[in-house]
Structure formats: C-alpha cells, structure tokens
Amino acid sequence: MPEARSALREVLPKRGQLSVEDVATLVLCKPKLLPLKSVTLEKLEKMQRAAQETVRRQEMAQREEPQQ
C-alpha cells in the first residue's frame, strides 16, 4: 500500500501564480420557512371566510328573487 499512496501524491504548486477569477454571480432569494398561524389569527380568518360566504349567499338569494 505505501507505494500506491506515494503514487497518488497530491500536487500543490508552491511557486508561480495562482489565479482565480471572481465572477459576480446572481443571487437567488432564500427558501422561506412559513410562519405558523396563531389560534386567534386562524379564528379571525375562519370567521372572515364564513362571513364572506354568508354575504355571498345572501346576494345570490337576492339576485334570484327579482327573477321569480
């Protein structure tokens, strides 16, 4: 094995110039953890949805009435 290891020795240039081109890359926006909702907020949203639903249904009913 020692021969094999010496055969695969890494090469680190100690002399000469090492050049790295620094290219400005574009940035992605980061992944977004979604915040959990508080109980109050959930209840508010539920109530709001329910209210909108009732309003919609009443409007539908009103629209149908004149047709009859």
Binding site: L26, L28, P31, K32, L34, T40, L41, L44, T54
Partner: protein, 511 residues
C-alpha cells in the same frame, strides 16, 4: 327537559347556535315574570345567556388582536421621539445589537425584519417605514392593510354578524337604556362583552362601562380594564394607560399587565413594556404569557439571540408552546442547523398540528438536513393541505429551491412558474426565475422579471443586486449604479454590492 337548562347545557358544550335558538324560543314564548330566588326572571336569564352565546361565537382574544391601519402608522403622534435612539424603538429595523441574522441568509419582511416563525394578527403587516411603502404594500394580496384600524377587520366582522340575522340585530343598541343596565352588574358584564365583541360598537360599550364603573363606585377593577380596552380601540392610549394602571393597583392581574404592555408597544416604548413584563414576572414568576411577551419584543427589535433565550424559558414552563417551538425552530434553520430545526418541527407534528405551513417547513428542513426520503412526501402533503392560493404558491416556491438544490433546473423553472400561477405577486419567485433565465442566456426576459420583482418588493436586496449585475454586464452602467444603490440601502453589509459600487465609481471617475 327544562328549556333553559338545555340551552345552558348547549352553551357549556360550545354549541352556541343551538343555544341562541333555544333562548330565542324561550324569550318569545315565556313573558311570565316569575322571579326566582336570585332575583332574576327566566327571560332575563335567557336574554343574558343569548348575549353570551352570541359573544362567544365571534369572541377573539382582545390581547392578541391588533391591527394598525395606514393612518395610525403614518399620522402617529403618540410616539415620543420622532427620531429614536438605537435600541429604544420598534420603528428602526436596523438597530440590532448583534445576534440578528443577515438578510443574505434569512429572508426579511417588508419592514426589514427577519421573518419570524409565527404570525399573530399584530405581526402580520409590520410597520412600514414611509408613506410610499405603506400605500404600496397593501397592493400585494398578502397584506391588505386597512386605511385605519376603525375600518379594518372589526367592522367587517361586525357587519357580517348583522347580515346573518334577517330580522335585524338581537339587541337594538340605540334603544337601549344603558343606565338601567349599568345598575345590574351581572347583566351589564354580559351586555358589555356583547356590545364590544359582537357589535363592535366601541362608543356605546364605553358609555356602558363608564356608567357601570360609576355604579360600582370605581371599586371594580374589571370595569376599569374594559374602559381601558375601549380607549385603546379609540386610539386614546394615554387614557387607556391610566385605566389599566388603576385596575392593576386594585387587583394584580396578568391580563391587565398584557393590555398595558400592548399600550406601551403602540406608543413605541418597547423598553417600558419590557420593564413592565419584568415587574410582572416578579409577581407572577414563570408566567408563560409574560415571558412570551418579552421574547416577542426582543424579536421585533431584531435581537434574535435574546429572543431565543426567552423562548427557551417559555418552553421550560410550558413545553407545548407552539409559538416558542416554531420560533426556535426557524432560528435554528436560518442559523444553519436544519437538523435541530427538524426536531422542533417534528415535535409540533407530534403535538397534533397538521397544516400546510408545518409540512412545508418539515420538507425544507428534511431537504437541508439531507433526509431526502421525507422531503418530497412532506411537500406533497403541504400542497394537499394548502388552504388558499398564496399558501400553495409558497410551497411551490420552496419546492423550486429543492429542485435547484438537486440541479434539476427544468423542475425548478416549472416550480417557480407554478408559484407565479398561484400568486402573481410573488417577488422572490420572479427573482429566482430571472436567475434561471439568465443561465439560459435570455437577458431580456431576466431583466423584465427582475424589474417586476424589485417593484413588488423594494425591501429585498436580491432583485436590485441582480439587476445591477446584469446591467453592468451589458454595459448599462448608469442603471447598474442606481440599482446597486438600492441594493445597498436594503442590505448595507452586502460585500458584492459594495464591490460593484466601487467598481462602477472607478469607471465613472475615469470618464
């Protein structure tokens, strides 16, 4: 079965609709005015029970409810210092004393604060810095900010509750003799809550409370707290403060402390609120709501590390506190420890929380913690649980990141497209799509997408910076410079932006 008892039982079982129906029947059928031992007639009892049932249907915790309208934030004359010193105000997002993550890692909200792990009604909008921002932000579908808090949710819910009753409201407030009810403390308390929560008629509620506290000879702390609540809703913060303080002198209550702190936060005095909480903790050691209040203030002041400390204290007292777990979890995620974040979110799952947001977070944590087997199933679950288009959009957006991570750029492209199909205002998705377009060499498309992104979300630095880089590449130095300046404004410590500006300034100097 005795109908009143049945109604009462329904109330106890939280079947409020049924309870209110039963009470209505009772009220219609039994005008018999036989007084029971307690000095109340059956109809009075039924009336009171119905008011309570109707209140419970729309009851939300007043401590949590807070919505600032545009008018309140911009025309705010309550703040003591217009230009506050760093670390003493909630208005200045950039005043963190270390511990705050940079926007390069953690996305920010419109006000430049890092996004948090938990939303409450009051954190939803955030405070916009300028009038321009304030008016602009409601245009996106997420944060519909009302013009004033008086025109916000309160009213919409109030009118809706009226609509549900075809024969008009249960109690006609304008014909009510408030003075008469104020004499009867037991009825008055139920009536007050009805007026305040169900009708949202703060002025009448205040009148009743004022009469009742007079009747109680200013000895009942409960009425003082209610008056304080009314003043708060009316925007008379200093008066509210007086009432709460006076109530606290009579009776030491955690609720009152929380209300008082809310007043201080509205007056933009976070340090006073912190002191108040700490005094409260001396009297109620280990109280979770107080600890949580402190943590929230630290978080809002961008002092994430001490917020995390307090959230940990909260968990020591109550290890099922969702807000604390979620906030600590998101902190770990954004400080490059997705494995630990995963444990927190799994804990939430064990506790029985089952919604889109949680599965989305689990999916992200799994992916970045290299547990690939769970990633896609979590996201699938999140998508199936999404309640509205915006939630689905966010899940697709995050899935796009997973696709970028595994190098499947086609999938990523489709994911970001789907995000935009669900939510047309998703600025992050526009930006990421632009980056993908750039890789394909479609400069013009990328430029258009970036412009959309930066106009939708001027608080993010990414679209500005990308636009600057792109313009720099095609030789449009003037535009590049303008965009770079905007990027610097959004994120002053961004090294690449600084380099770009320096480069551009050298160019201009040579001309």
């Amino acid at each position: 079965m005795e109908p009143l008892l049945l109604a009462w039982s329904c109330f106890r079982r939280r079947r409020f609709e049924r309870c209110s129906e039963l009470c209505a029947e009772l009220l219609q059928s039994a005008p018999a005015a036989q007084e029971s031992d307690s000095g109340f007639t059956i109809s009075q009892a039924a009336w009171s029970l119905k008011t309570r049932a109707l209140t419970e249907m729309v009851y939300v915790d007043e401590i949590d409810v807070d919505q600032e309208g545009i008018a309140e934030t911009i025309l705010d004359e309550n703040a003591i210092a217009q230009v506050a010193r760093p670390g003493t105000s909630l208005r200045l997002p950039g005043t963190s004393q270390g511990g705050g993550p940079s926007p390069a890692v953690r996305p920010v909200t419109q006000t430049g604060r890092p996004i948090t792990g938990f939303v409450r009604p009051s954190t939803q909008g955030g405070r916009p810095g300028t009038m321009e921002q304030a008016i602009k932000t409601p245009r996106t579908a997420h944060t519909a900010r009302p013009i004033t808090s008086a025109s916000g949710r309160y009213v919409r819910l109030g009118t809706a509750s009226m609509l549900t009753n075809p024969d008009g409201p249960f109690i006609n407030l304008s014909r009510l003799n408030l003075a008469k009810y104020a004499q009867k403390p037991k009825l008055a308390k139920a009536l007050f809550e009805y007026i305040f929560h169900h009708e949202n008629d703060v002025k009448n509620a205040l009148d009743l409370a004022a009469l009742a506290t007079e009747h109680a000879q200013y000895k009942d702390w409960w009425w003082k707290v209610q008056i304080g609540k009314c003043y708060y809703r009316l925007g008379l913060y200093r008066e509210a403060e007086k009432q709460f303080k006076s109530a606290l002198k009579q009776q030491d209550m955690i609720d009152t402390i929380l209300y008082l702190a809310k007043v201080y936060l509205r007056l933009d005095q976070p340090l006073t609120a912190l002191n108040l909480f700490k005094q409260g903790l001396d009297r109620f050691p280990g109280e979770v709501t107080l600890l949580c209040g402190i943590a929230r203030i630290h978080e809002e002041m961008n002092n994430i590390s001490s917020a995390a400390e307090y959230y940990k204290d909260v968990l020591k007292q109550d290890n099922t506190h969702v807000e604390a777990i979620a906030c600590i979890g998101s902190n770990h995620f954004y400080s490059d420890q997705p494995e630990i974040a995963l444990r927190f979110y799994r804990r939430l799952l064990q506790m029985g929380i089952y919604n889109c947001q949680l599965f989305n977070n689990l999916g992200l944590c799994c992916f970045y913690a290299q547990q690939y087997d769970m990633t896609l199933t979590s996201f699938e679950r999140a998508l199936s649980l999404a309640e509205n288009e915006e939630e689905a959009a966010d899940v697709w957006y995050n899935l796009g990141h997973v696709a970028v991570g595994i190098g499947d750029l086609n999938l990523a492209y489709q994911c970001f497209k789907l995000t935009l199909a669900s939510n047309n205002d998703h600025a992050e998705a526009y930006n990421n799509l632009a980056v993908l377009e750039m890789r394909k060499g479609h400069t013009e498309q990328a430029r258009a997408l970036l412009q959309t992104a930066s106009s939708l979300a001027p608080h993010m630095y990414e679209p500005h910076f990308n636009f600057a880089t792109l313009s720099d590449k095609v030789g449009d130095l003037q535009r590049s410079y303008v965009a770079a300046q905007k990027s610097k404004e959004a994120f002053p410590d961004h090294v690449d932006t600084q380099l770009l500006i320096k480069q551009l300034e050298q160019h201009f100097a040579m001309l």
